[in-house]
Amino acid sequence: MGGLRVLCIAIVLIHSHTIGAFAADGPLRVEAQPLRSASEFLSPALRAEQADPIRNRGMLWVEQGERLFTQPPPGGAPSCATCHARAETSMRGVAARLPAVDAASGQLVNLEGRVNECRIVRQSLPPLDYETDELLALTAYLTALSNGEPLAVSIDGPASAFYAYGQQLWNERQGQLNVACTQCHDQSVGRKLRGDTISSAVPTGYPAYRLEWQTLGSLHRRLRACQLGVRAQLFELGSREYLALELYLKSRARRHPIDAPALRR
């Protein structure tokens, strides 16, 4: 439970440095300010490490993902590349447009969901769990194929309800600390929290290699880490809540180019 110990420290700092500035139960104010790209919050050392394909340890998963995508899985099922040949061009931009509403099911589906849908329907394989090296590798590979592409999710039509739900979650106070996402990531951007700088929550680098995790992790795992920080009830990875928040965050950061896998502290 070392994580909790660290988080306890975070809690003190939140109260004294960040949330102290807000009225405890006052209305939440969302200030419109331009989002700062995630890499702006990185130290020069981490930024250099991220740009170096050997030092950026996330690239190990990208390489694994390319292998998994290209090689036929054991058991005779077709490889991903059987349908998605020349992935460098055919899959470019796909990650930038997700999550999106699946026409058949009416559900919001992100990249992890799409990969698992293909596994079940096209490959007759069991879905991969969040945070397994295999799913992280495939999503890292596919997201990296969209590097430089601006986030371009749709929030129109059937997606609008999911977007609204994500926005609601973003602005809702939660947890024992009674803090909403927006209080840190809209209203306190650039201020200090536990020796770190509060970012604009631009999700272009995920899946990302977080030094604290010592591994690659999904955006949903990162959202869960924030929820742990404010001592909130955690949602499931891949849940409708995190999917809606993912859509909200990616719409909010629309036009910010993908740069995955990123390095984070």
């Binding site: 070392g2 050997i54 030092r55 340890r57 190990l60 090296d133 010592q214």
Partner: protein, 98 residues
């Protein structure tokens, strides 16, 4: 690492491998996963070991090592990682010396 080098030239080799390097140690209490780390990393060039590293849990996850190699003549550079489960991963790169 570069694919070619001149005889006598020193080249820089950088390696990274995907491995969680589970330490078997935390400051967190009793529920500690058993240690599973890469304990040995060895580099051979022209059939002779040039570097061997005894690795302890103090090396970071997904171990990164960079080191120098003096090019003598053309041949294989063989990299070997061995972990606690006995898994051995061997990678070979050809170095052409001109």
């Amino acid at each position: 690492m570069p694919a070619t080098a001149q005889a006598g030239e020193t080249i820089k080799i950088r390696t990274a491998i995907q491995h969680p390097m589970i330490t078997g140690h935390t400051d967190a209490g009793p529920n500690v996963a058993p240690r599973k780390i890469i304990h040995t990393f060895a580099v051979a060039y022209l059939d002779a070991e040039v570097l061997r590293i005894d690795v302890a849990p103090g090396i970071a996850a997904n171990p990164f090592f960079a080191f120098n190699l003096r090019a003598r003549s053309s041949g294989d550079v063989v990299f070997t990682w061995i972990d606690d489960t006995g898994e051995v991963i061997v990678e070979t790169r050809q170095l052409t010396v001109t």
